[in-house]
Symmetry: C2
């Protein structure tokens, strides 16, 4: 991921624009303009500046996985054999749609993942049949999220 500008300076108006769009990506520019008291064209210009700086990494509709039956979230620490190339394991993990995050981490695990499953049976299937069958995976440690209490972005 390329960072185009580390020295981006954002003022109070930029913050208001970002906060509005972080809360609802479809907030009309003109509505933001009315709220902050400058013209829509000015907001538009500032948004282009913020996009060029790389600060804005796109926008997304957020899907509630529970409505699709994915009621279980789990974190999984993965131990890999020393001889195995980690990128190959990541490539395999990418093919498992239940895996929604994957990190190389410090500590005992080689790889740390966040995943979704419909229920415990489904979770067990992904762990034992999908993840464990990846070449080089020796062992996993699983932590089920009983409840997520905080989910947010960095404060602007």
């Amino acid at each position: 991921m390329k960072i185009k500008n580390q020295n981006i300076v954002i003022d109070g108006i930029d913050k208001k624009i970002l906060r509005a769009l972080m809360a609802d990506a479809r907030t009309p520019i003109l509505e933001i303009a009315r709220q902050v008291g400058i013209s829509g064209a000015a907001i538009h210009q500032r948004l282009r500046k913020l996009e060029k700086s790389g600060l804005i990494d796109g926008s997304k509709f957020i899907i509630n996985p529970k409505v699709l039956g994915y009621t279980t979230m789990a974190f999984v620490g993965v131990y890999l054999d020393k001889a195995v190339s980690n990128p190959e394991a990541v490539k395999q993990l990418r093919n498992i749609p239940e895996v929604i995050e994957c990190h190389y981490t410090t500590g005992n695990w080689s790889i740390f993942i966040k995943m979704l499953a419909k229920d415990n049976e489904h979770l067990m299937h992904v762990l034992n049949k999908e993840i464990q069958s990846i070449n080089g995976v020796s062992r996993t440690e699983t932590f089920i999220s009983l409840q997520q209490q905080i989910d947010r972005q960095i404060k602007i």
Copy 2:
């Protein structure tokens, strides 16, 4: 979080709408209409149905924390004293802006968090001064994400 309808049925057109908006929340409805070959009004109706079902949990601009200098992501397992109320600890964690996720989890930790920091010094400060000073926190275990390889939502 209330789920209004667990038995939502989504067809191929709904999937195309969702995929377009999951990739870019500001994709014009009329552009989606052109891509899937039905009218904008029909897309509009379907979106209202999807929103009512609870499947769509809003939309967000995604901020790249690296551009703000937050180059370090870490996962922290938190041990709480048995006597302490977990909700009180979560309340304190909510006041630490660097904490971006917080879960009650199975396993040895009471609470598991994901956090951002500008560098290792900042990380240490948050761990030792902010988190450790929360009443009931006895110990933490930290895993730094060296690199995030996968970051996505559930597949539609």
